[in-house]
């Protein structure tokens, strides 16, 4: 008897102008680990130890299984190398549904997160049936704030942050964008 292949199935693939968005898989772990254990992870609740980062990565993957939605790995079209993780995220205890993003070392500054976030939000509002979304951003994370604003999100000071002092950027709703969930 040989070990069966354990495979996450049913994660839709999305394509944008430059990106292919696919399910997170084991071979993406080193890129994820390198970011989450680096100083840049200070806006992602880190830096984490590799052990803690492994758990976080497990949660990102399991989010798909539990919610039928979750974050995609971004690859440049024609490649299979992960350059970031972007998409719907709402683990237990989070006040609202989020469109989250992180770009791995070397992938920054090309607008990939924007491109993927637009596609993620569109998917969440149509296939995912979401009606609204926020992005949780740490104080001082100017790059993420700029991205949220570019996405049309606005600071919502009345919304509950994940951690005290964090910022909540509210995206245009499905209705605002003329999209209706197909639940």
């Amino acid at each position: 008897m040989s070990a069966p292949e354990i495979k996450l199935t049913g994660v839709p693939e999305l394509e944008t102008e430059r990106l292919r968005m696919r399910a997170p898989i084991a071979k993406d772990w080193p890129a994820y680990r390198d970011l989450m254990t680096s100083e840049r992870a200070k806006y992602l609740g880190g830096p984490h130890t590799p052990g803690r980062a492994y758990k976080e990565f497990s949660v990102e993957i399991a989010h798909w299984v539990i919610h039928g939605a979750g974050p995609w790995m971004l690859c440049l079209k024609g490649t299979d190398d992960a350059i970031g993780l972007v998409g719907p995220y709402h683990p237990e205890g989070w006040p609202e549904r989020e469109i989250g993003w992180m770009i791995f070392e070397g992938g920054e500054g090309h607008g990939y997160a924007f491109e993927a976030a637009v596609a993620s939000r569109h998917w969440a509002y149509t296939e995912g049936g979401w009606e609204s979304a926020v992005s949780y951003i740490g104080q001082g994370n100017t790059r993420s704030i700029a991205l949220a604003e570019r996405l049309g999100a606005v600071l919502d000071e009345a919304a509950t942050p994940l951690d005290p002092g964090d910022l909540v950027y509210r995206h245009p709703s499905a209705a605002d964008l003329g999209l209706r969930g197909v639940v």
């Binding site: 008897m1 040989s2 070990a3 069966p4 292949e5 354990i6 495979k7 996450l8 199935t9 049913g10 994660v11 839709p12 997170p24 898989i25 084991a26 772990w29 680990r33 130890t49 590799p50 052990g51 803690r52 980062a53 492994y54 758990k55 976080e56 990565f57 497990s58 949660v59 990102e60 993957i61 399991a62 989010h63 798909w64 299984v65 539990i66 039928g68 939605a69 979750g70 683990p91 237990e92 205890g93 296939e127 995912g128 049936g129 639940v183």
Partner: protein, 176 residues
């Protein structure tokens, strides 16, 4: 919504079914993780942490190709605990992990389940040796390890849980 799923093999023993962890197990899982007994698994944990732990069970399967099952009653499908081969980043070595939820204690559930998990590790995954890590205070798990034929093989210091006794199982060869 999409039909996203992860296909995880199912094992059956006399009284138990070892099956994929699912969201419907969350309440049982969270209750165990919130209990004082969860001190032996790095807890107690609040509900949010328990959610991450349940997700970690599922994600481990995708990352490693094996992982921990929910130990369910074969008749009722009630979740009684977890067991399975387990080797997250930062862990000492591939192990057979087990935990039993409060109401399932004292019936040999963990023994029956862990034996099936060990057999899977040896027969299906092809492992030749395996350990189980137990907190020094967890006398019930230590007793189970001994019942499974394990012997003490030093101590491992985990970055967040602290010291863990290493119990080494009889090798695949010894059990063959």
């Amino acid at each position: 919504m999409t039909g996203t799923r992860i296909t995880i093999p199912t094992l059956e023993t006399k009284r138990l079914r070892l099956r994929a962890p699912e969201f419907r197990d969350f309440d049982s899982f969270a209750a165990f993780r919130a209990s004082p007994r969860a001190v032996h698994v790095g807890g107690p944990h609040d509900r949010d942490q328990a959610f991450n732990q349940l997700c970690a069970l599922i994600g481990h399967w995708q990352l490693r190709g094996y992982g921990r099952w929910i130990v369910a009653d074969r008749e009722t499908d009630e979740a009684l605990g977890t067991t399975g081969p387990y080797y997250p980043e930062g862990w000492y070595a591939p192990e057979i992990a087990w935990s039993v939820f409060d109401r399932a204690e004292g019936r040999g559930i963990a023994y029956e389940a862990a034996q099936a998990a060990r057999a899977y590790a040896y027969d299906v995954l092809g492992w030749t040796t395996v350990v189980s890590l137990v907190t020094p205070e967890n006398t019930r798990s230590a007793a189970l390890a001994q019942r499974m034929g394990c012997v003490r093989d030093g101590t491992f210091e985990h970055e967040s849980i602290g010291p863990l006794h290493i119990w080494r199982h009889p090798s695949a060869e010894a059990l063959a």
